[in-house]
């Protein structure tokens, strides 16, 4: 890569030039790289917190973590995984890939792009610094329900609030940038209905971000004013209502969970056709299904609140609306399977992760359907069954999606092939470890083990020990992933332009590694693919 930004400033020293280059870069590829490394770093930090949680739950009783510290670990693990790992990871992929996939020279608003990224390290420093404060880090769970975060929140809650404000600004600016890029910078001939699906899913995700991140900003601001400025939004004593917190929070929260998965859908829709060597089955229905999921996500927030004493009519409405989401999601799963049907499939690492994604995400979807049933939810709510559900959709969903994308596009980014043997080892250990960790949680949850509690009854001991062993293995496999990525950056077999035999799309027409500047003139579309793939 070329140090372009560095040319513009006086070269006082190499170190300065290096810092300035990354601090001031407006290049979509460099910013994408920054996002991905931030996400990867926070993945290990939040993963370490998960290790503390699983270590404590290895046996019943209180061994390593005091209850207050355990609660802080649960809260910070959730917050960082959601806002610091999955979201920046997907934004990083968007930065790298969207301009390459639509034939644009860069993002439409490069300076804004730089600004959106550089807010994030400060936001997470603010959030993480709360761990070292008097009274400890936020301990009320990532959902920060009132009055836990208002009346009973530790002093560091204010740092959490400002951290969330900054992440929100970053996400909204990033989303505006992505939408404007997609609307204006597509190469001539690429109509909306000819865009690659990763671009489509990101377009819809960006709209979700713009619509719900401000709602999150609003609700944390209400918490802030309730804490310090004498308002009573969520305090019954002053005429407010704590249940209203949950309504506003989940109005943000449910679209948020689709923000965490839609780009993953896009990734699977890019990778599966490549390795099945067939066109994606049902392109149009994929686009409409994504849009339908995004729309439905706004009218199902009540399913997080079935136990708050909602009237029957509202419970029925939210139950049916939630179950309706299974239809477009089912369309997607059907299309992926139909794409593989009678394809000439090969199982390189990205394909393995994509198939793992489809199968395990579907399991998470099914437990979601179980939770959507009001009478069943009365039993399951706040147990480890819920923990099992959302880890099945997030780990093999969002995280496997990001890993699949990394293996798929890493040769394009670095110019080197990753080590296929190590990649396969990574996949198979990860897939075993994920199931070992999260599958037993279904059983402990159904048997009534409550979530977010440091200790548990003796009868859950065996399943928890299995979960903890799985979690340790899962943590180790990610160290292997880090090693594979670094090894690929530093060397390896040269990657060809097209990289994969069945790859289609504009990003596979630029050399590997992708040069600093690409598509300075709009490329021809549809592109003529070279026959040099593996």
């Amino acid at each position: 890569m070329v140090a372009h930004a560095a040319d513009a400033i006086p070269q006082r020293s190499r170190v300065w030039a290096y810092i300035a280059r990354w601090l001031l870069t407006t290049n979509h590829k460099e910013i994408g790289t920054l996002y991905l490394w931030l996400s990867f770093t926070l993945f290990f930090i939040a993963g370490a917190m998960a290790m503390v949680i699983r270590l404590e739950l290895f046996q019943p009783g209180i061994q390593f973590a005091e209850p207050l510290f355990y609660n802080q670990m649960v809260t910070m693990h959730g917050l960082i995984m959601v806002f610091g790992v999955v979201m920046p990871g997907f934004v990083g992929l968007a930065n790298w890939q969207i301009p390459l996939m639509i034939g644009a020279p860069d993002m439409a608003l490069p300076r804004l792009n730089n600004f959106s990224f550089w807010i994030l390290p400060f936001a997470f420093t603010l959030l993480l610094s709360s761990l070292f404060m008097e009274g400890g880090a936020p301990n009320f769970g990532w959902t920060f329900y009132a009055p836990l975060s208002t009346t009973y929140g530790p002093p560091s809650t204010d740092f959490f609030i400002f951290g969330v404000h900054m992440m929100g600004i970053s996400s909204v600016l990033g989303a505006i940038n992505i939408i404007v890029t997609i609307f204006n910078l597509r190469t001539p001939g690429m109509t909306l209905m000819k865009m690659p699906l990763f671009v489509w899913t990101w377009l819809i995700t960006a709209f979700l971000l713009i619509m719900v991140m401000p709602v999150l900003a609003g609700v944390v601001t209400m918490v802030l004013t309730d804490r310090h400025f004498g308002t009573s939004f969520f305090s019954a004593a002053g005429g407010g209502d704590p249940v209203m917190f949950q309504h506003i929070f989940w109005f943000f929260g449910h679209p948020e969970v689709y923000i965490l998965i839609l780009p993953g859908f896009g990734i699977a829709s890019q990778i599966i056709p490549t390795f099945a060597r067939k066109k994606l089955f049902g392109y149009h229905s994929m686009v409409y299904a994504t849009a339908a999921i995004a729309f439905l996500s706004f009218i199902v927030w009540g399913h997080h609140m079935f136990a708050t004493g909602m009237p029957l009519a509202a419970e029925l409405f939210f139950m049916y609306a939630t179950m309706l989401i299974a239809v477009p999601t089912g369309v997607k799963v059907f299309n992926w399977v139909a794409t593989m049907w009678r394809g000439s499939m090969t199982f390189e690492t990205p394909m393995l992760f994509a198939i793992g994604f489809v199968i395990l995400f579907t399991i998470g979807g099914f437990s979601g359907l179980m939770l959507a049933l009001v009478p069943a939810d009365f039993q399951y709510q706040d147990t480890f069954f819920v923990v099992a559900h959302f880890h099945y959709v997030l780990y093999p969903g969002a995280i496997f999606g990001t890993m699949a994308a990394t293996y798929y596009w890493l040769p394009k980014w670095t110019g080197h092939m990753y080590d296929e043997r190590l990649g396969k080892i990574h996949f198979w250990t990860a897939v075993v470890a994920v199931n070992l960790t999260f599958f037993p949680m279904h059983f402990t949850g159904l048997a009534g083990m409550p979530r977010r509690i440091v200790d548990y009854s003796l009868q859950f001991a065996d399943f928890n020990m299995v979960s903890s062993i799985g979690a340790g293995l899962l943590g180790l496999t990610q160290v292997l992933f880090l090693y594979i990525v670094i090894k690929t950056i530093r060397g390896g077999e040269k990657a060809s332009t097209r990289v994969w035999e069945g790859a289609e799309g504009l990003e596979w027409t630029v050399p590997s590694p992708a040069p600093h500047h690409t598509f300075e003139t709009p490329p021809q579309f549809p592109p003529i693919m070279q026959r040099d793939g593996r």
Binding site: V172, F183, V212, P214, V215, S232, A237, G238, G239, P311
Partner: protein, 193 residues
């Protein structure tokens, strides 16, 4: 190229205003929530604020149908008051004006301000319980060790659905933090008129 520039600027402005609008929507959810609860009678909050006695006299044409009103009292976390109804149950004819009292005593060694928040069950019947005078309309202040009887004057509308035979009126008494006691928040003022 210039066209693209203009397009981009327009889109950025549109999208940014969508974001700002959604921030406003988050705040708009607060009054919307209250209106929604009021219209549907959810939450059992008695939103019928103080009714003008003159209007009440006109509307109150006692009928022969009787309902039972039960009175309940709770104290919120950290509230050091004794708080109970003086009568636990009353038979009331629809439209009949009734008077009862709650008793409160401050057991703490310092002055404490309290705010009672009502809740009616069944929730959808809340709008038929009309209050003319209630201690919940304002904050109550008691010196250390002091006690007082607090008035409640109400009637039940004669349009009360036929299947309702018993209404429970519950008050939760919350301790008002010193900050809010000194200058009641804007929301409080607008709510409790």
């Amino acid at each position: 190229m210039n066209d693209t520039r203009n397009n981009q600027r327009k889109q950025v402005i549109l999208l940014a205003s969508l974001a700002v609008g959604m921030l406003g929507f988050a705040y708009a959810l607060v009054p919307l929530y209250e209106v929604f609860c009021e219209v549907t009678g959810l939450n059992g909050k008695n939103y019928g604020r103080a009714v003008d006695p003159a209007v009440a006299q006109v509307q109150a044409a006692p009928s022969n149908r009787e309902v039972t009103i039960q009175f309940l009292a709770h104290v919120g976390n950290g509230m050091p008051w004794e708080f109970r109804p003086t009568e636990h149950q009353l038979k009331v004819r629809l439209g009949e004006l009734k008077f009862t009292e709650y008793y409160a005593r401050n057991r703490a060694a310092q002055t404490v301000t309290g705010q009672a928040v009502p809740s009616v069950s069944p929730g959808y019947a809340a709008k038929y319980l009309h209050k003319i005078e209630c201690f919940c309309f304002s904050q109550q202040r008691l010196e250390a060790g002091a006690d007082q009887r607090m008035a409640l004057r109400f009637y039940v509308g004669d349009d009360l659905p036929a299947e309702v035979h018993t209404l429970s009126l519950s008050y939760t008494l919350f301790k008002v933090p010193a900050v809010q006691a000194a200058s009641p928040g804007a929301r409080l003022a607008s709510n409790q008129q």
